[in-house]
Symmetry: C2
Subunit: 246 residues, 2 copies
């Protein structure tokens, strides 16, 4: 499994992804699921992937190949698309192409074992920062004010805290804390989601890669946040009134 979240804040985009892939619980590996492209001064694009690793790696390889200023580039490049909407269309088409190719069947393939789902975040000069969720069929939805975040992979355990505490006006420091708590709940419940975590903070109108961090297995802040949250939850729980049985 996988867990990735993209937040759309007033001040920019924050992406976090785990790095565990597994083929059964006895065969786990660490693979990057966050990929970043940039044309400094002009655009920054972040892609996070969930689903079949062969599929997502092929998608990223194709996007990379086509982004190179190379000789044989027939296909359009995400570094040249005119807007984030066009980037999303390109990525969606590439995903659908890879799934169709691996399945040997054309057309929508949501139930294919080679399926994958993507979160795309970024900004192209002339537009706002935008956040998309791309489906295996190649179509996509965009985050709007009512739902300013997307999750892919093992989304359920980490959702309640996002729903309760997310506020698009929050700062980056607070947003990272929120994401860490959401990941902590997920890590605690699903073995197939694992540290380290990748983080990309893109401040609006930066038009280049923002702050990139890897939160490692022994990250002191993550550990103290996790235990501090457990304690805070138990304390909050204890302070609420008990049910009256009488």
């Amino acid at each position: 499994m996988t867990y990735c979240v993209g937040l759309k804040l007033d001040r920019g985009l924050v992406c976090m992804s785990d790095t565990r892939t597994n083929a059964g619980v006895d065969n786990i590996s660490v693979f990057r699921k966050m990929f970043i492209w940039e044309t400094p001064g002009e655009r920054s694009i972040t892609l996070m992937t969930a689903g079949n690793l062969a599929t997502t790696q092929a998608v990223v390889s194709l996007l990379n190949e086509r982004a190179k200023p190379a000789e044989d580039r027939g296909a359009p490049s995400i570094l040249e698309a005119a807007s984030m909407f066009q980037v999303a269309k390109l990525v969606g088409a590439t995903l659908r192409e890879v799934i169709a190719d691996q399945s040997g069947i054309e057309g929508p393939q949501a139930d294919s074992p080679f399926s994958a789902t993507l979160i795309l975040a970024g900004q192209v000069r002339g537009g706002e920062p935008r956040l998309f969720l791309i489906y295996p069929e190649g179509n996509f939805v965009e985050a709007a004010d009512d739902t300013p975040f997307f999750q892919i992979g093992e989304t359920k355990y980490g959702k309640p805290i996002l729903v309760r505490a997310f506020d698009p006006r929050m700062g980056f420091e607070e947003a990272v804390k929120l994401l860490m708590l959401s990941f902590d709940s997920t890590l605690k419940a699903n073995l197939s989601v694992g540290l380290p975590l990748d983080l990309h903070i893109y401040p609006a109108d930066g038009f280049q890669t923002g702050l990139v961090r890897r939160i490692e297995r022994d990250d002191a802040f993550f550990d103290s946040l996790s235990s501090g949250w457990g304690e805070a939850l138990r304390k909050a729980f204890g302070q609420l009134p008990d049910y009256d049985l009488s």
Copy 2:
């Protein structure tokens, strides 16, 4: 969908179930998913059901028929089984029988569309209070000290708070509060889980039905707990240190 939880506390068993059934989001109904049998002074048995409603209703009907002191009773009755283990075997066999019957195929049917999963809680004189999770195949596992609760249905949203705050030494009042918070997280995230909730508190060695309550849609305590918890979470979240970007 459905959400049911059974807790095994030092002082007894606590069961809570929702009541929403759905065939698509445009076709929802209220159905009881908690069923209680007793022989006062001798045994109390609580069954909670998740899965295909036709299957679970058939299971409950069969258990009821066979529990009647009737003329044509060939099958053994859960009111006569010698222990909770034997009750679990009977319920599991009945579940498997119903699924096989509806599927037209004998044998394990976990992937059958007529599938169901059950939580069984109770005590028979001569034994301890026991809690079982019964699978569609008819086999079952019992709650032990390391995992003293079971969930069925939409289990993921409500699990983090259970994992963090459950303590087998807690009182019934606190346990109901914990269950309500777990249900609240689930209700907020999955439309196919809905109020009212059914509650059965069985004090150990009671050997009869304990406290039974229905928590209705407009329950003042549930509402205040839900908003109080949201506030407490946001406060706890605010008090934890933010991530340091520098």
